[in-house]
Symmetry: C2
Subunit: 207 residues, 2 copies
């Protein structure tokens, strides 16, 4: 398939399933640390990098919106056609609606309140300096260490995660408050493999 590494990443089925599960569970714009965790987790199922995760969510979100827009446009067109018929029947006057039906940008979808997150977005963000340990496929108790370089503080922070109980646990390495949106030393429920919540409709109301 990929002789000596093809040019672009192709998600494996398992990776894709997990990504979609995360998306369904509400994740849209994962923070840098979330991306790190997701990447670490998914790298168990095949080659993957943080930027792939970043791009995946960006694209998936965008194309979701796109799909919704098109659907709404069709509905609008239908509605207007019906209105038109009505008008022809009722013989009514000038109704030069200035709504551009062909313009795909109709719905003003509710952007989430611009994140005041302290977590810098991925592309400003730490590069992941894996120090091995992730490729250790022999052991069941996987452990994943990496460094996070914060260009803001100019510091390198050590990170570590352990795979246990069929889930990843973040290990507190240097006991300092991680100043991250997710509290440290807690089992992150990023990977609800026991998926119960399947919200197919994520049409959060705009504004």
């Amino acid at each position: 398939m990929s002789p000596a590494g093809s040019s672009r990443w192709s998600p494996t089925t398992e990776q894709l399933m997990i990504l979609e599960e995360l998306y369904r569970s509400g994740i849209r714009t994962p923070s840098a640390s979330q991306i790190q965790q997701i990447t670490a987790h998914l790298s168990f199922y095949g080659r993957i990098e943080g930027k792939n995760v970043f791009y995946w969510f960006q694209n998936h979100k965008a194309r979701d919106r796109q799909k919704l827009r098109r659907k709404l446009n069709k509905q609008l067109q239908l509605q207007q056609q019906q209105q038109h018929q009505h008008q022809q029947l009722q013989v009514h006057q000038h109704c030069q609606l200035n709504q551009d039906i062909t313009n795909p940008f109709v719905g003003n979808f509710g952007y989430p309140p611009r994140s005041t997150t302290q977590d810098f977005p991925f592309y400003n963000s730490p590069s992941l300096l894996f120090q091995g340990g992730a490729a250790n496929t022999a052991e069941q108790a996987l452990n994943c260490k990496w460094n996070v370089y914060s260009p803001q503080s100019n510091l390198v922070e050590k990170k570590e995660m352990t795979f246990c109980n069929y889930g990843w646990t973040l290990v507190d390495v240097n006991h300092q408050a991680s100043s991250c949106c997710t509290p440290p030393l807690k089992t992150l429920d990023l990977f609800p493999l026991t998926a119960t919540r399947v919200k197919e409709d994520f049409t959060t109301p705009p504004k």
Copy 2:
């Protein structure tokens, strides 16, 4: 001004002058390594990070295009007004020009041929791990070392630059072909402090 570091970067006058000089000299979308070099250079004049340089060029380019577009639009509007007057005088017929004057996207500005550069763009790119040396303001012979982490090769490459003869020289650290657009071991002319070329018009013809 900035008690313990204000939230966003403000370029110093010198930094700004150099950035503008670089821009005038033709740089629009600096590669990762260019950003590193520029950042290293400018950090001599004040606190600065790679992302600042990245954003600066992005914004400057965008707002330049914006300015040009507005100018062209005004010209077009004037032209059309004049045409309109002509038409009224010459009493001529249907001339429903389908050019949308209000549409700000008029000029098809010549995007540079999509970079086939091997150099990954900045946000996929190395974070700059400065290892000190840049703050050594006492000595005239400045030396600047840093590491470049490539998420693609998962390798960390050592880099080094030395300030001498009123310019920066890239030092070849590990003797491997840097596989970078600029040949190593050569004085980079990124900072033409002896600026002679002042091309105010960068209207490269489209396509």
